[in-house]
């Protein structure tokens, strides 16, 4: 045992001291020869004969040396080292090839790693808390099956109940959804203009339980959430502290005014703690939940059992498994929900390992991630195919070297290993470059996203996602590189090492037959590359056409002059309704605005209740997703500038009483009552998805507009008189004089209900709702074009490389043809045609895939609410398909003709002497 150990150590040492051992052996053998010579001379041989005899007796010195080498070190390691050294020498001799291959792979791996970095940050990285693996987030599942971030909402009483009665967690923590407050911060700037800040209300144990110590000052004590209104203290986020206080360490103890009341700063969170919010935004501050009534005026989050405002995070006890904790939590929440009545009963509760985003286990999210991964994987495949092709094309040079090695007795597996080592080395270099590329790209992405969101939200936005590469990203890039290296290296390695010595030691270009099989592999690779480029190009072509349409897509109604006033009026039904109507009535009197109404905001998501056409009575024929619906008050259409084509608007009385009347869009009228007059017709909606139908009578027909999404004209839309029990966004058309109207609106709010101010936000429909959609179209198109161009340029390089090689192999043949009097154009045609066959095949396959992808995309449009990212471009859009095909043909013609023209220009005599 000990001997084995010592030997291993010695062998490992020899890996680095190989030259010394070689040197010693050299000296020993020299002595050996010398002594043998002496011996032979003693026996009477001449000096000359003795030397020859000695050498002969000693046997093959080279073999002895090799055996010695094999013996003294770990064979495979030693061989790998040799292979690596050999590979480096090969690359150094041909740096152009190595560079091209590394850059190609770096692009492919870089794109993949970037996407994975984003996915990692969103779904895999744990929250920035101590021992994050044991921290779970509670997620509720509604009986009605609603999905989304609201699944993470729990009420404060639920939280308290859980915390008191559970036995599976060491800590249970609550953190509210973001709250907005008006603040006066007297930082070092000394300015007193109130600004809107976003913070989180948290339980007192929030920081302690997460093991997060204050970067400065202290965090909350566990009792600082007990007595309502008793703890006017805040902990600032690092980013906020830097921004407002420029990192001033004297901030502790200072007062900030939130909603008019002073709060003292007790601490600053450490830089790495970016919050536990489901939204990728770092809060500006944290305050104890007990301050809710002060920070969110007019609302009571702490006592309503069905007011789901907090997410609950918990730390599992060391000995408790996830399953047991889940069962207990679900039972507790069920027990608790038996104590009150709610419209949205909870079916069960699950625990989810924490990541920055919620719902990352949602199959829809996973499917879109998988689709993206597939797309970028295709780019990597193109890159791999390219490098494989380059390796194959270099075969002519390598083949002789390899044949010699095989002839000298190297085993095939040894040669394959060496070739694979070469390609893995290449791809590792590509991986390192790709990783660097991806780090850069991610930085850029982060800056771009932050800027975009800041511009969009109009406030200081700190992006909380940590996009730095972690071990997972490194491992991903490494695995990707090694796999890529093996993938593109294997087939050339198998090809080259075929033991057909006789043919290959001779000059390869003379053996016409031998070449065929390999060229078939090349054609396959080219075809695959072209197919993928074609697919990516088609998709991006369609998206670009969509982009062009999106930039001047007209919503059909007034977006620039219309503002939405969104408010949170509190959760007491009676008072919130009273506040809403008081505000609305006051706004109607503001003379500076052109028109005021209320109802569902345009471009703010879809609502498509199940629908039935016809006279009421039957429950048959209810269909999902047939129409979009919105509540609209009197003057709603006027405020938005949507023309009422026939019929009448709702009356004031209908607006406030919840009359069962509706105005339908032109398209809806055509679709549901083809060839008939829609006025006076009836339809029923299942408004709350409960199976209970409500009947509506059509009283008007409105012009078709892009109401729900800029991407398409609503296939059908019904505007319903509002439900008097709800509050809605208030729509304000400010008319031409925006400068005068907006201050007048704020003044009116201030007069009627000043407490509302922090809970109100005013959104311009154009800048806040329409513009982002145009931006999204632009971003998607740019992303797609970049990917497609990447794939195309890689494919172009690949086609060019292979054609250049094939033509160079045929230089002799071309020379003979030219010498025999063939016309240059005929030769060119024959060369180009041969080069284009795999391109054509690849294009056909790519087109078919593109059409299939496009058909899938369009099939989603049957649902009335789904967005059309192509902005109405037909899926067989002839311009896109024809344009892309022409483009690709030109690229591949160029790639194959350039080397062919060069070959034709060669003097036939030179070509003939080429051998």
């Amino acid at each position: 045992m000990r001997a084995l150990l010592m030997r291993t150590i010695a062998k490992l040492r020899n890996l680095w001291l190989s030259h010394r051992a070689d040197d010693e052996l050299e000296r020993e053998i020299a002595l050996h020869v010398a002594l043998l010579e002496e011996e032979y001379q003693r026996r009477g041989l001449s000096e000359e004969a003795a030397r020859t005899a000695a050498r002969r007796a000693l046997g093959g010195i080279e073999q002895a040396r090799q055996a010695h080498r094999d013996q003294r070190s770990i064979l495979w390691l030693e061989q790998t080292r040799q292979d690596l050294r050999h590979a480096c020498r090969t690359f150094a001799r041909n740096p152009g090839f190595a560079m091209l291959a590394v850059v190609t792979l770096a692009l492919g791996i870089g794109v993949n790693t970037t996407l994975f970095t984003a996915y990692d940050a969103v779904a895999l990285k744990p929250l920035p808390v101590a021992d994050a693996a044991r921290v779970v987030r509670m997620e509720r599942w509604f009986v009605h099956g609603w999905l989304g971030d609201m699944q993470y909402g729990f009420s404060w009483p639920e939280y308290l109940y859980c915390r008191e009665h559970q036995g599976v967690f060491s800590d249970v923590v609550a953190a509210s959804s973001p709250v907005r407050v008006l603040a006066v911060v007297s930082g070092s700037g000394g300015q007193t203009q109130p600004k809107t800040l976003e913070g989180q209300l948290v339980s007192g144990n929030y920081f302690r339980s997460f093991g997060v110590d204050a970067g400065l000052g202290r965090t909350f004590g566990p009792d600082e959430d007990r007595a309502p209104g008793a703890d006017p203290v805040v902990v600032l986020s690092y980013a906020f502290w830097q921004r407002e206080f420029h990192g001033d360490s004297h901030v502790i103890g200072k007062l900030v005014k939130l909603n008019g009341a002073p709060y003292s700063v007790i601490g600053v969170a450490p830089q790495e703690f970016t919050g536990t919010s489901l939204l990728p935004r770092v809060p500006d501050f944290w305050a104890p939940a007990s301050m809710q009534a002060q920070l969110v005026r007019g609302q009571d989050w702490l006592h309503q059992p069905a007011d789901y405002r907090f997410q609950i995070l918990a730390r599992l006890k060391p000995e408790v498994g996830l399953k047991r904790a889940e069962a207990e939590t679900a039972a507790l929440i069920r027990q608790f929900s038996a104590s009150y009545v709610t419209r949205e009963p909870t079916r069960t509760v699950t625990l989810e390992h924490t990541a920055f985003f919620g719902n990352t286990e949602d199959p829809r999210f996973e499917a879109s991630v998988a689709a993206l991964m597939l797309i970028v994987a295709m780019v990597l495949f193109v890159a791999c195919a390219n490098v494989a092709n380059m390796l194959l094309a270099r075969g002519a040079v390598r083949q002789r070297e390899i044949s010699v090695r095989l002839a000298l007795g190297a085993s095939r597996s040894r040669v394959i290993r060496q070739l694979i080592t070469e390609s893995v080395l290449l791809s590792l270099m590509g991986g390192v470059a790709g990783l660097a590329l991806s780090v850069g790209a991610t930085r850029l992405l982060r800056v771009a996203v932050t800027q975009m969101l800041t511009a969009q939200l109009g406030s200081d936005f700190v992006f909380s996602l940590n996009l730095n590469p972690d071990a997972r990203v490194l491992a991903y890039a490494l695995v990707l590189s090694v796999v890529a290296g093996v993938v593109f290296g294997l087939s050339p390695a198998l090809q080259f090492s075929k033991p057909e010595l006789a043919t290959s030691i001779r000059d390869e270009s003379t053996s016409f037959g031998h070449r065929l099989r390999r060229s078939r592999l090349r054609s396959l690779l080219i075809g695959g590359q072209v197919a993928i480029s074609m697919l990516l190009l088609t998709c991006s072509g369609l998206l670009v056409r969509g982009l062009m349409k999106s930039q001047n897509a007209d919503p059909g109604f007034d977006t620039r002059q219309v503002f939405l006033l969104l408010g949170d009026y509190g959760d007491n039904a009676a008072t919130s309704l009273a506040r809403f109507h008081r505000l609305f009535d006051r706004l109607q009197d503001v003379s500076e605005v052109a028109s005021v109404s209320y109802g569902r905001g345009p471009m703010m998501g879809t609502w498509a209740p199940p629908m039935r056409i016809g006279e009421p009575g039957s429950a048959e024929g209810v269909e999902q997703g047939k129409t979009l619906a919105s509540y609209a008050s009197r003057d709603y259409l006027k405020t938005l500038g949507i023309a009422l084509l026939r019929g009448r608007d709702f009356t004031r009385q209908e607006t406030t009483s919840g009359a069962q009347v509706a105005i339908v869009s032109e398209a809806a009228a055509r679709r549901f009552w083809p060839g008939e007059d829609a006025l006076g017709k009836h339809f029923q909606l299942d408004l709350k998805f409960t199976g209970k139908l409500t009947d509506f009578e059509v009283v008007g027909i409105a012009q078709d507009v892009r109401f729900t999404t800029l991407t398409r004209i609503d296939p059908a839309h019904v505007y319903l008189a509002p439900d008097p029990a709800q509050t809605y966004p208030i729509l304000i058309n400010v008319g031409a004089n925006q400068q005068a109207a907006l201050p007048a609106v704020w003044k009116a709010v201030n007069q009627v209900d000043a407490d509302l101010l922090p809970d109100l936000s005013l959104w311009n429909v154009e800048t806040m709702l329409v513009h982002p959609q145009r931006t999204l179209a632009r971003v998607m198109a740019i992303f797609a074009v970049l990917l497609a161009l990447l794939a195309l340029s890689l494919a172009g390089v690949g086609i060019y490389g292979v054609m250049a090689y094939v033509v160079s192999q045929r230089t002799q043949e071309i020379g003979i043809r030219m010498a025999l009097g063939a016309r240059a154009s005929d030769v060119l045609r024959s060369v180009a045609l041969r080069g284009l066959t795999p391109v054509a095949a690849g294009m056909a396959i790519g087109l078919a895939c593109g059409a299939a992808a496009s058909a899938v995309l369009h099939s989603t449009l049957s649902f009335a609410g789904s967005a059309d990212f192509l902005y109405g471009v037909r899926f067989y859009d002839p311009w896109t398909f024809a344009g892309i095909s022409c483009f690709l043909v030109v690229v591949s013609l160029l790639a194959s003709l350039v080397p062919a023209v060069r070959a034709v220009r060669v003097d036939p005599m030179i070509a003939l002497r080429y051998e």
Binding site: M6, A10, R27, A64, H68
Partner: protein
Amino acid sequence: MPIPILQGTLDLMILRTLATLGPRHAYAIATRLEQVSDELLKVNQGTLYPALVRLEQNGWIKGTWGKTESNREAKYYAVTKAGLRAMEEETQRWRQLAGVVEKLLTEEP
């Protein structure tokens, strides 16, 4: 006609040679083995030098550079303590094996 060296026996022979004669260089070991075997054993360099490396890596022998009588540079190998122990074990094993073979060969049919 020289006989081939049985697998695994060269190590033992080298150890034994060095243990009886004291430190020797590779040539001397080879000559000694040939002499002892009356030229029946031909020690190939392709097996001798790897064997010496193996033994040295096992820590059973140790090589030091010195001068021969004719003032040539040579690497002298000497058995270490671990080498002596290993030799004892190997000898034991060889004797057992040889005994078994002998017994089988001399057994009356």
